[in-house]
Symmetry: C2
Subunit: 257 residues, 2 copies
């Protein structure tokens, strides 16, 4: 499927990723893997240094071969962008370019909105050494800057692709709620926790734990705080009952099984 | 500086990155580069397969050598986490683990909050083949899941490190305002734009552009919308005056220079 056909093709699966004069096949392959990690499938290569197809790209793609198989090669950036309505250029350094400068997250929202309106979109990346030149960037509607360590801001090409794919995917993915991961086992009720705390307190009493006696409310509250904050499940509470029984060398408590 | 010293050391520059049983030196090197891209400097290696130091790691680190130089090697995960207060484990697949499941962004905020409270924090990553096992994850306070293409969700180790570093950095970086990138040249005033529009309209009038005459308000408004939306700078407006003068074969308009 590699070729120089610049005719319009509907962009499915998010923005096209356009790599301008990429140098290393391994970076193209890693970029393809990163794309597919986040559901991007359309790869466009402008004048790749080592030609196309490229075996080093395939070795790095790690089962993202369909992205490489579908990649198209263009002789120039104008041809590679011809059918796109919204192009966002990535740039490692801030330049005077009189163009909106977006965060990756803001760019992702803009791309999603454009897609929803039926527009074809693209993410433009420069080659490893020099990035995009000013004439390339002038073709884009906006520039995206990845916030990074100012002392070491140069991202690997594939990693820049990864971050943009990640933000694009996130902009359409449901947010994990604050309770995610916590509902895997039925939670214990407050009464069940109280029951356990009574057993524990009685055992601690018998062991002479609450000394001096006037500290009992504070000590009891401290223990309750620990177990309440843990948001115990029913099964976990049964386990704790078992632990207590074992420590007391008692048969398991009937009320908790 | 590599060694097995597990004594407490203050974690500067964000969460420690703990790689459990990493296999490929090149992934350790790429992870170090990704760390430094986002200001993370503390790398901890639990039982790296090919020993330490590792020349392949250095070859991939691309000037992130200080991170590798400071890396410490631990015989087990318990030693690697010993001084940390908040550990977030990364996992490619969702598991029943009765532990909060955070998005990368939520984890980043939690890490920043813990750091602000003086706590030592860490991000825990498994090896390339198997990831973290359930006993590793049980040590963490929360699990982070990177939202990704369900059909191709396996991230490269260094890219998982990159995403977490990116989110951590972002959680402390100032947001780019909506006007970022647009204030690079002094903007034109509304009066200056009006002046240009009057010149343009007069020229178009002379050329018989406004036909039929009753459409003039609509056509004029369409043109004004275009130039207003472009948010022209003073210099850009001078350039447009020059364009108009050239097309009209007039000397440049005195009011706009």
């Amino acid at each position: 499927m590699a070729g120089t056909d610049a005719s319009a093709r509907p962009v499915l699966g998010g923005p096209a990723v356009i790599l301008v004069a990429p140098q290393l096949g391994q970076n193209i392959g890693a970029a393809a893997r990163a794309m597919l990690n986040f559901g991007l499938t359309e790869l466009r290569l402008v004048n790749p240094r080592d030609g196309w197809p490229n075996e080093e790209a395939r070795a790095m793609a790690s089962r993202a071969d369909p992205v490489l198989d579908g990649a198209r090669v263009y002789p120039g950036i104008a041809e590679a962008l011809a059918d796109l309505h919204l192009v966002v250029a990535t740039s490692a350094r801030r330049r005077d370019m009189a163009k909106p400068l977006w965060s990756p997250a803001r760019a992702a929202v803009a791309l999603r909105q454009a897609e929803a309106a039926g527009q074809a979109t693209g993410l433009l990346f420069g080659g490893e050494r020099a990035g995009l030149d000013n004439d390339d960037i002038a073709r884009a509607q906006a520039v995206v800057e990845v916030p990074a360590n100012p002392a070491f801001a140069s991202l690997n090409l594939a990693q820049a692709v990864l971050l943009m794919g990640y933000e694009w995917f996130q902009a359409g993915a449901p947010e994990l709620g604050p309770e995610a991961g916590l509902t895997l086992s039925p939670p214990a009720t407050a009464a069940e926790l109280d029951n356990f705390m009574r057993r524990l307190e009685a055992a601690l009493d018998a062991a002479g734990f609450f000394r001096p006696p006037e500290k009992r409310p504070i000590m009891r509250r401290a223990l309750l705080n620990v177990f309440a904050r843990a948001r115990l499940g029913e099964q976990e509470l049964r386990t704790l009952h078992g632990v207590l029984s074992a420590l007391l060398r008692e048969p398991p408590d009937g009320t908790a099984t």
